[in-house]
């Protein structure tokens, strides 16, 4: 790290900004234009339409359906995160264990669906999940009763988890490939059977990747619109659907904005609560 730090202040400072900071300016300007300005607009409109005041927030917290949907949004996102961790962990581990050729195939398997448009992917899930769809046909052919998947929360979670899986796999893989597998050998020589070595050595070292992936997946899931709209039913509506209804159907920009702000603030609060747990207890793991 020290090699990246400026050696003398005179080199680092030029004018009123340091050079590393100056290099981030294009990104900062872009973010300010496409994230900062709209976000600010939404906040202002949530307080100013139809007139100045907190009436939109009072409306939001006054209607039980809004609170139910807000809670459901977090529950569904949490389930999606759990499903992603469970599916991505072994997959990312496999990516570290195989040779470069197989690894390329595994990476492509993650990325190709990622390159297909979300609408197309979600519609394929409709074909798979619907009552007369592939899964139910197979179940019935095997002599089981069909199960209801489409228009249920389960269906929404399955579809969203598949869409978000790459965001879990890639950070996990990048952490896992830095874990020195020889540590497992050391643990075994000290008397740990393989499962014990995994839980005491490998798992703790891979947690930073789990946390990073989980945060990305969870936050992206909170704002999902297309997948819950197409795969879900009235009982699996998520907040983004309500926002869409308010803004596009009812032209209630103020109420829509208030919903967005509530979602944002709640997310920040949850992340702040989770941060102490996720803070890594050791500095710079034994990577090479």
């Amino acid at each position: 790290m020290s090699a990246l730090e400026p050696t003398t202040p005179s080199v680092a400072k030029r004018g009123w900004v340091s050079r590393p900071f100056a290099l981030t300016l294009p990104a900062l300007i872009l973010l300010a234009a496409v994230i900062g300005y709209p976000l600010l607009t939404i906040m202002v409109r949530s307080l100013s339409e139809p007139q100045w005041g907190v009436q939109n927030y009072l409306w939001f917290f006054g209607a039980p359906v809004n609170l139910t949907v807000l809670q459901r949004t977090f529950v569904i996102s949490a389930w999606v995160t759990v499903v992603c961790v469970v599916c991505a962990y072994p997959y990312a581990y496999l990516m570290t264990a195989v040779g470069p050729r197989v690894r390329l195939v595994l990476v492509l398997c993650v990325l190709i669906p990622f390159w297909v448009s979300g609408v197309v992917r979600t519609l394929s899930w409709v074909i798979l999940l619907q009552d007369s769809g592939v899964i139910n046909s197979l179940l019935r052919a095997a002599g089981f009763d069909g199960i209801r998947l489409i228009r249920t929360q389960t269906g929404v979670v399955i579809g969203m988890a598949q869409v978000l899986l790459p965001f879990m796999i890639l950070p996990l893989y990048s952490v896992m490939k830095g874990i020195d597998l020889r540590l497992m050998r050391a643990a075994q020589s000290l008397g740990a059977r393989p499962s014990r070595a995994f839980f005491t050595v490998y798992l703790p070292l891979s947690l930073p990747g789990v946390y990073a992936g989980a945060i990305i997946v969870f936050i992206l899931a909170l704002g999902f619109y297309i997948t819950p709209a197409l795969l879900g039913g009235p009982r699996s509506t998520m907040l983004s659907t309500l926002v869409q209804t308010q803004v596009l159907s009812l032209l209630q920009w103020g109420r829509g904005g208030a919903m967005g702000v509530v979602l944002l603030v709640t997310t920040f609060v949850l992340l702040a609560l989770a941060a102490p747990v996720m803070r890594s207890r050791y500095r710079e793991a034994g990577r090479r």
Binding site: D180, A186, L190, G191, A192, P194, Y282, G286
Partner: protein, 371 residues
Amino acid sequence: MKPGQESKGAAIDLESISKAYGGFKALDGVSLRIEPGEFMTLLGPSGSGKTTTLNVVAGFTDLTSGKLLVGGRNVVGVPAHKRNIGVVFQHYALFPHMSVGRNVAYPLTLRGVDQAERKARVARALDMVKMGDFAHRYPSELSGGQQQRVALARAIVFDPPLLLMDEPLGALDKKLREWLQLEIKRIHRELGTTFVYVTHDQEEALVLSDRIAVFNRGRIEQVGTGRELYDEPTTLFVGRFIGDSTVLRGEARSDGVSTALRIAGETVTAPRRIAGEASPVMLLRPEKLAIRRPGQDAAGTSNRLPGTIAEAIYLGSGSKYEVRLADGSMAIVRTPLTGDSFGLGDKVELCFDGADAKLLADDSSADATLT
């Protein structure tokens, strides 16, 4: 070491063990007995099979054939975590998410040792490697030498009857390495357990070991004390791998009791011969060779070869010369400080007593593995 205990070390018997990877034989019928409490070094160039042997004993590598007994018990097929053998790795292999204290306590936790005793044993092990003050640090805060000492403490804290070390000092600088060699020797004496140490550094092997097994191309060439290997090598490979040596090759004639080599017109003789068909070479240690100015009287030395000084190195305690012989080969000579000194390009005569020359079977493959 607790008082009242006999040698806590385990004996190891390798009985013609082999390990093949496809067509490549990493180990080819290696047999070796290591006595309880012995410090045995497996020495050899890279790819010679010494680390494979260590991994087989540790349980990291399966055997293709052969028998392996640790403390009289056949351990073939026993997984690594049930062998109760301490291993120290070249790359330290400390757990980065645990403090030094928790690293050292790890094998005790696995064995269900209660907290009070665990604490005492961790402290004792850390004291033994002089890292007692570092229990709360994390591995990333330690230097390489400190990390390796913690790794050593972790490998001995559960009192294994056998400690394996795989080039543990390979990543450290020379000064630190020499100091840690003495530390390892002291710890071996204090513990009384069996140590098996892998290195490619013959000086390190000489400093540390009770006995050394010299590996080459998946086989053991010779087993013996450092002195035996230096004074009485049985193969050309061992003679060249241990210490400095001069190899004389020439047209050989043997008359039953002595052997003569004709080298670029001169003849040298030694009062020995080798059995078998292989062509003999003479191996001479630097201190058995002397150099004189041409024509100078050389009493007591039966053999003389003309040469030119190609390199002169002042060592403090004496001088070391490289002499280019008439056939182009190099001889290494060490002389005491008294006596003549020579400069680059001086014409000299290389003298030696035929009785000091070891006669060994020529082995051209030794050149390939040594260079």
